[in-house]
């Protein structure tokens, strides 16, 4: 489903060239739930951005459902994102000028689907926000905003979902609820899920945990199915 080959990302800084990722090679299979963990600055979010096609690599390849992102320009990557990928972010990234419903409708509309409204309503119902659909993000709590973001992420029935610290801005209890919801929907839609997290407990619930240290894969462990399901 997702494959990176010898992926390198360097950036120019005032102190010279800084290499954030130093040749990452990994493969994520369809339906897998993968957690990327590591200390701050280890390159987790950069890796997520590259795998999701949000940024271009310095060298190496990223293959998303057999599409080589490094050979695509931003326009093509955007179209592919719209087709294959969903996102959940730490800071929710809802459009403040749209209601909850409109936020969920947006990716469906962008795909040219006429049924956007109905589908979005169903999803909001699924995440328990049917009563709040007409509210704007600033009228919702953090947990509610993240639930809207999750609904949006699943709105286009994306095959791959990328989540960047999805509980990072939430308290423990709310974070837990949001994760339950994310996993539930993931199962329902049979989505491949890649998430970046600091949360050890969350990581343990995933099929696989990849630990990055200074831009390199330090560990790549697979959890038992029981662990990930029961946790």
């Amino acid at each position: 489903m997702i494959e990176t080959r010898n992926l390198v990302k360097s950036v120019d800084t005032s102190e010279g060239l800084l290499t954030i990722l130093k040749g990452i090679t990994l493969k994520v299979n369809e339906g897998e739930i993968v957690a990327i963990v590591g200390a701050s600055g280890s390159g987790k979010s950069t890796l997520l951005g590259l795998m999701a096609g949000l940024d271009g690599a310095t060298s190496g390849d990223v293959l998303l459902d057999d599409n080589n992102l490094t050979e695509m320009d931003e326009e093509q990557r955007a179209m592919l994102r719209g087709q294959l990928v969903g996102f959940v972010f730490q800071s929710f990234q809802l459009l403040p000028s749209l209601t909850a419903l409109e936020n969920v409708m947006l990716p469906i509309e962008l795909k040219g689907d006429d049924q956007a409204r109905d589908k979005a309503k169903q999803l909001l119902q699924r995440v328990g926000l049917e009563e709040r659909w007409h509210h704007y993000p600033n009228q919702l709590s953090g947990g509610e905003q993240q639930r809207v973001a999750i609904a949006r992420a699943f709105a286009t029935q994306a095959q791959i979902l990328f989540a960047d610290e999805p509980t990072g801005n939430l308290d423990t209890a709310t974070g837990k609820k949001v994760i339950e919801l994310l996993f539930e929907l993931n199962r329902e839609f049979s989505t491949t899920l890649v998430l970046v997290t600091h949360d050890e407990r969350l990581a343990q619930r995933c099929n696989r945990v990849i630990k990055l240290v200074a831009g390199e894969i330090a560990e790549d462990t697979t959890n038992t199915v029981e662990e990930s399901v029961s946790a």
């Binding site: 979010s45 997520l48 951005g49 999701a52 949000l54 940024d55 459902d65 057999d66 599409n67 695509m72 931003e74 326009e75 093509q76 955007a78 179209m79 592919l80 994102r81 719209g82 087709q83 990928v85 996102f87 972010f89 990234q93 809802l94 459009l95 000028s97 749209l98 409109e102 947006l106 990716p107 509309e109 962008l110 795909k111 040219g112 689907d113 006429d114 956007a116 949006r152 286009t156 960047d164």
Partner: protein, 889 residues
């Protein structure tokens, strides 16, 4: 990407309709959130000012054409000294023009018991081609319009002539040898104020052209003014005819073709200047609105970086982003254009209301062009000012959703400012079609930009200190100003341009109005009296004193010709240009003086024109032909000595004062010895000074003034002026009876017309100034708003760290006031420099330094910017820091 995947992505129609919905939703929300309001208002202002002024000038142009009816009784007239060639009339008729003829001459009219000098005018049956003659059967009753002159055998007389001739309607008068029936009293005729000197030398007597031979008055050598009148509803036919006429070389200098603009120079000048001012005003309005659009669009786009990043994350391509934002702009523009049209229409209505009383004809409906111009303005403004920052949005990297600091600078760098600059220049040129205006405006703004970069570099470079120096408001403000150096330079630039525009308009307006008022003050004399002998002066003065008429000085008048300069034939400079040379020659023999020049004409300057655009040649026209000269012991009012000295308290004979343009044309120098031929005698005089003359003040003005004692012994008559109110008008009959040889020229109607026009044009100018003021305020507000987020954020942090409200507010006040002071100072310099060019090149005014603006400009800048700044940022200390930080993250 696999083909299947690509295909599945392509659903263009559904996609664009969805994108359109997304765009509308975005527009609606941003509108409600207030983000688009300033942008919208700026657009509306641009469309309003341009549409309003275009509508006004469009209708004014059309109205002027129609109003020519009131001035000329035709669309074009051909006049000249001596009989006009029949060929001209035939050519006009062949070209499908309507034609008529008039013949003006002064003559004595005799009744059984009395006689008086009348201004006779014979008209052909088709007269008038435009406008109406108003007649009545009984004096001082309401008249009725009629589209013809009197039938053969009848005359129409002005009411004043009836008591003077001791007759009534129904009686007969003799004009020359013809006895004609007085059938009506004539109240007005369309071309009365635009007539020749002969048309104003007494009360009007109108007769039919067919009766002229019977009068036997017009003979070879008689002073008669011939006119052919032409009219057509097709402007092109008239233009073609005019072109044909001008191509006839052999008529040059003998016959002239004119339209309404030539007819009354003062009116034309006032309207031309008003049009220039309105144009300039609308240019400023557009530029300011453009700047406001650029600023608000920039801020709008900056606030949308995150939005675009999210859209991109969700699969939106750059072209879709462009589509969305273009849609937002176009829909916004659509509403702005509609609103601008409505407001523009109201603005022109307002201007027209103010000018109502001088628009003697019903105004034609405007064409569609002004609306097109208004709409195009919105489009160009958007393309030049708003689109660049919005297009830069498409470059927003989607990674911004993960890293907020990502490439904001990179995006800003991609905004093509060149678009805005080019857009502004093209807009200015497009409206003005005037290279001088365009270059003045562009170079003042460019000059300001350059000057500013240097000043701010010097000012802000000093002491590149680290940190915020948060302990002291002054230091805090200065470090803040330095930290935001590039942003502040931009702000100062915008403030300077805005304040400069307002200053230029205010000063120009003040100068124009002052000049107009000085030109024709309330007590401007409205009657000229000529042909007065020395011993009649006392009688006239007594008459004025007894009847409460305000009389003025008596000027001696004598005809003279320059024959030699320092013993040589005069050799006028050939630097007036071909056209002007032609004008010069054309008018050299023009005795048939038009009334607009009556002031000078009556003053013995039959061949001087009023001051105005390209008037140099006309002013000194007549050149070496005979001119009426005078002598005086004091400098006449409104004259200024530009070189040399006026003769002192005890003037000596043998000196002469020369008008400066005339002197320049003759290449004279102080001390030159001139030889004159006066009454067939030779007179010598030394040039002792050069003078500037105000030609448009409707007062006696002279090119040549001798020192007392030089030519006094050569005879001559006297000239004077008087102010006679409407109710004193009948006294003219008594005066003429008292001094029968005197010729009175009545220019009261003309003066009144000019005064009204000036008053109304002044109001129109004030209206446009208000419009520009609103645009200026808009820019200032947008500019302050543009830096609001950063200030809020920074000051919230300061407050979190314990800075007091007073410290923050004082520091903000100092920062804004400093920026305002610098902007005001630069604006003042820019305004004075621009005014220098504008007044010289566009408005034909003399530039004078405006001392009072120098302290006022910076002070005003300081007050306005500090006021606006504090007003906009007071929330910094009113909202809790937590709220500010939350709102901005």
């Amino acid at each position: 990407m696999p083909e299947a995947a690509l295909n599945s992505l392509n659903k263009p129609s559904a996609m664009s309709s969805n994108l359109f919905t997304v765009a509308l939703r975005l527009l609606w929300r941003d509108w409600n959130g207030g983000e688009l309001r300033l942008l919208f208002i700026a657009l509306v202002m641009a469309v309003t000012s341009v549409t309003g002024i275009a509508l006004f000038t469009d209708r004014l142009e059309k109205a002027l054409l129609l109003e020519s009816a009131n001035m000329l009784a035709a669309d074009r007239i051909v006049s000249g000294r001596g009989e006009l060639p029949e060929e001209i009339l035939v050519e006009g008729q062949t070209r499908g023009l309507r034609t008529a003829q008039t013949l003006s001459f002064t003559s004595m009219a005799f009744s059984d018991s009395s006689n008086m000098l009348v201004a006779a005018k014979a008209v052909s049956d088709a007269y008038p081609l435009r406008g109406e003659v108003i007649i009545t059967e009984a004096a001082f009753t309401r008249g009725r319009p009629i589209l013809s002159g009197p039938p053969p055998g009848e005359v129409w007389l002005e009411a004043r002539a009836l008591p003077a001739l001791e007759i009534e309607v129904g009686d007969t008068v003799f004009v020359g040898e013809a006895e004609l029936l007085v059938s009506e009293i004539i109240i007005t005729e369309p071309d009365r104020t635009g007539g020749s000197m002969m048309d104003n030398a007494g009360p009007r007597l109108m007769l039919n052209m067919a009766d002229v031979p019977a009068t036997n008055v017009v003979q070879l050598g008689s002073r008669v003014s011939y006119r052919y009148l032409f009219a057509s509803d097709e402007l092109s036919e008239l233009d073609d005819f005019e072109q044909w006429f001008r191509a006839q070389e052999e008529w040059r200098g003998r016959f002239y073709i004119r339209d309404v603009r030539d007819e009354s120079q003062e009116v034309a000048d006032a309207l031309d200047r008003a049009e220039s001012f309105l144009l300039l005003g609308s240019l400023f309005a557009v530029i300011l609105a453009g700047v406001a659009i650029a600023l608000t669009a920039k801020r709008y786009s900056e606030r949308h970086y995150d939005y675009v990043a999210i859209l991109k994350t969700l699969g939106c391509t750059s072209s879709q982003i462009t589509f969305i934002y273009l849609t937002v702009q176009l829909v916004l523009a659509f509403f702005a254009v509609v609103a601008g049209w409505v407001l523009g229409w109201l603005v022109q209505l307002g201007i027209l209301r103010l000018l109502e009383s001088i628009m003697l004809v019903e105004l034609p409906e405007p064409g569609l062009q002004p609306y097109v111009i208004g709409a195009l303005t919105a489009v160009i403004c958007l393309l030049a000012f708003a689109l660049p920052p919005l297009l830069a949005l498409r470059e927003t990297p989607p990674l911004r959703v993960l890293r907020k600091d990502m490439s904001q600078q990179k995006i800003s760098d991609k905004v093509p400012y060149a678009f805005g600059i080019l857009g502004t220049i093209s807009l200015v040129y497009w409206y003005s079609q005037d290279l001088v205006l365009t270059s003045v405006l562009v170079s003042s703004v460019a000059g300001i930009a350059l000057f500013l970069s240097i000043v701010s570099y010097l000012f802000l470079r000093s002491g590149g200190s680290a940190g915020m120096k948060a302990g002291n408001a002054w230091k805090l403000a200065m470090t803040a100003a330095r930290r935001r150096r590039s942003q502040n330079v931009l702000q100062v630039m915008v403030f300077s341009v805005t304040i400069m525009s307002l200053l230029i308009l205010t000063l120009l307006r003040t100068d124009l109005i002052d000049e107009w008022q000085a030109q024709l003050p309330e007590d401007t004399p409205n009657h000229f009296m000529m042909n007065i002998t020395r011993n009649q002066i006392g009688e006239i003065e007594n008459f004025f004193a007894n009847n409460g008429i305000q009389g003025n000085a008596f000027y001696p008048l004598i005809s003279a010709r320059v024959t030699r300069v320092n013993g040589d034939e005069p050799n006028p400079e050939g630097n007036l240009g071909d056209d002007e040379q032609n004008t010069l020659t054309e008018n050299a023999n023009l005795d048939d003086v038009e009334l607009s020049e009556a002031a000078q004409a009556a003053a013995g300057e039959p061949d001087t024109g009023a001051a105005g655009e390209g008037e140099e040649g006309r002013r000194v026209r007549g050149g070496l032909s005979r001119r009426q000269v005078t002598w005086a012991d004091k400098v006449p009012p409104d004259n200024g000595i530009t070189a040399g000295e006026w003769w002192g308290e005890k003037p000596q004979a043998g000196y002469v004062s020369i008008e400066q343009d005339y002197a320049e044309w003759l290449d004279l120098e102080l001390g030159d010895r001139l030889e004159f031929e006066i009454n067939q005698q030779t007179v010598y005089a030394e040039v002792s000074n050069f003078r500037s003359v105000r030609w448009d003040n409707m007062q006696p003005n002279f090119f040549i003034i001798f020192s007392p004692g030089t030519i006094d012994h050569l005879g001559g008559t006297y000239l004077s002026t008087a102010l006679m109110e409407q109710e004193q008008k009948m006294l003219l009959n008594d005066l003429i009876r008292l001094v029968p040889t005197m010729v009175v020229i009545e220019i009261d109607a003309l003066i009144e017309q000019i005064q009204t026009i000036i008053a109304q044009v002044t109001s129109a100018i004030e209206l446009i100034s208000v419009l520009v003021l609103v645009c200026g305020a808009l820019v200032l507000l947008s500019c302050v708003n543009a830096s609001l987020d950063e200030r809020f954020h920074e000051n919230a942090i300061l407050r979190t760290l314990g800075a007091g409200q007073k410290l923050i507010m004082t520091s903000l006040l100092i920062e804004f006031a400093t920026i305002g002071f610098i902007a005001g100072l630069i604006a003042t310099i820019g305004a004075e420099a621009s005014l220098y060019y504008l007044q010289q090149e566009v408005f034909q005014q003399d530039f004078s330094f405006h001392y009072w603006v120098w302290p006022l400009g910076p002070l005003l800048g300081m007050l306005i910017i500090a006021g606006l700044g504090i007003l906009s940022t007071r929330g910094v200390v009113q909202i809790s820091p937590l709220n500010v930080l939350r709102r901005l993250t």
